[in-house]
């Protein structure tokens, strides 16, 4: 049986890259990290629990990817460049057949974004992955939730609802043919954090958030913290390609309150439309304009004809009754 220290040495210890923001990584009481001059650190934490955020028996390589991806998505929503992360991992057993692909999936995404593992903790326990991620962003350029202004356009990146569709099929909530499930599942299991778009939106977007609990709920955080409201064209939302083949009511529901999208929802002044589209092109990320910020509080949905539209828009709540 692999010991705790062997486990860390074998799977989670790699030399720091030359030019790293970290001057000390895994293996001491603390890691040491300094942002570059004029930069501040953006810090976010997400914890994923087996049976809650992912199915028991989930593919470890995809899980390693996703646990880091959801954290990188928070950096993206802040316009921060990834630097480093720590990993706290509770495992039922030191199973190398699980650890090797988990580490591989996690490091493949980390390397793609130049994000180094600098510390962590491993323990025995119910499978739980808690990552804290560090990025850097120039002072005063972070994309906060609180800065949306009346008249701003509302945008989303990529497409919505595809992860929720895959989850529904896997949980037996609806029937989906194998080819459709195979097409939708990567959105659920291996989301691509919109880091490049977040960086390109510095100085362009007025506010941003990543969509993890559903568009309505997450846009709601921007509205509340900015003290504004919004109108959104529900039929203009970019449904994912598999979801777009489903009945219109399901498309609407999963676009507005799906969850696990890991797209960016952001606002920008209308005179910045060309800059938003340039940022999208520069980061090779599609964006859609979905609504407008208004003074009256609350989120109002309208259909293609501009008629008000009622939809359940409950955001995902981990402590809600099932």
């Amino acid at each position: 049986m692999l010991s705790e220290f062997d486990l860390i040495a074998r799977y989670f210890t790699r030399p720091l890259r030359p030019g790293s923001a970290a001057t000390l990584g895994v293996g001491d009481d603390c890691a040491l990290l300094a942002p570059a001059a004029g930069m501040q650190l953006a810090i976010s934490t997400d914890m994923l629990v087996e049976g809650r955020h992912f199915f028991a028996g989930a593919d470890p390589a995809l899980l390693g990817h996703k646990c880091l991806a959801v954290n990188l998505s928070d950096l993206a929503a802040m316009g921060a460049r990834p630097l480093a992360f720590t990993l706290a991992l509770a495992l039922p057993a030191a199973d190398e057949a699980w650890l090797a692909p988990f580490a591989q999936g996690m490091f493949a995404l980390a390397d793609l974004h130049g994000c180094e593992l600098v510390g962590g903790d491993t323990t025995r326990g119910p499978l739980t992955v808690s990552i804290t991620v560090f990025g850097e962003v120039p002072k005063e350029q972070a994309l906060r939730r609180s800065n949306a202004r009346v008249g701003d356009d509302i945008w989303v990146s990529g497409t919505l609802g595809e992860a929720r569709l895959a989850l529904a099929a896997l949980a037996g909530e609806l029937a989906l043919d194998a080819a459709s499930l195979a097409a939708a599942a990567p959105c659920l299991h291996a989301p691509a954090p919109r880091v490049a778009l977040g960086l390109a939106l510095r100085g362009v977007a007025s506010a941003a958030i990543d969509i993890s609990d559903g568009l309505a709920g997450d846009l709601g955080h921007i509205l509340k913290q900015s003290g504004v409201g919004a109108v959104v064209d529900i039929d203009g939302l970019p449904a994912g390609p598999t979801l777009a083949l489903q009945p219109p009511a399901l498309q609407r529901a999963y676009c507005i309150a799906g969850g696990d999208d890991y797209e960016l929802c952001f606002t920008a002044a209308p005179e910045r439309r060309a800059d938003v589209l340039a940022a999208a092109r520069a980061s090779a990320t599609p964006v859609s304009r979905i609504g407008v910020i208004e003074a009256a509080p609350g989120l109002r949905l309208v259909d293609a004809a501009g008629r008000p539209c009622q939809l359940p828009m409950t955001s995902f709540d981990h402590f809600a009754s099932p």
Copy 2:
């Protein structure tokens, strides 16, 4: 039932202090934090799991204290001043009778050290507390594990083995009268991280670590990373006051391989003895000189008469077979 967002708002959201190193705390995609000029961030993560690191039904106020204390202890061992922390919390239910004292115990210790909660994540799941803590330390002054030199003295702060004695009594491994258990239990449940000593040892100690898994194992990390060995007088170890009333063999065993001590073990050149004692006085922290760094690898224990001494010195390993 409290929602996830109400829970965060009610128990884990407080305004940032004026002059805080953080410019943005709980409530956005990321917190924003910058160390002062010339400083680097020291970062550490510890995850505590119910049934593994603490008993089911543990007092929530003490648990809140301890989860932060073990992280602050890592900052202390680096000579870093606490700035901020993030909290990822998996809970079986949003139970306010548990949350209120947990938050109270955690914030009481946080306030004592000027350490602010700047972000986190809450989810439903088996009770698990994962904290990442941030401190600052001047560049080149961090107390690493790798810098012990042949001839250095070896020191420990406070006393050893008291937490292990309390754990043994609570786990039914040995009988302890109620008064003795009451005296020893605070060392297990509410350790005081040696932050002030760690700060005072900047520029004085050559290497440092905090003792969480037992003296032999943790000193062993210093020896291995510094490429040296050590001789330690096992009868000169500072047994805790309750442990000191137990049989000598138990005293030795729990001092050398107890665990949960959260004292500092550090090395310093012999010509710095007066400086070490001054640091101890300045931080109101007792210290004991327990041995000497030698060139030959490995840890050698000797008794009061200088005779070699064999003791099981296995460090705690979360993945060892029970």
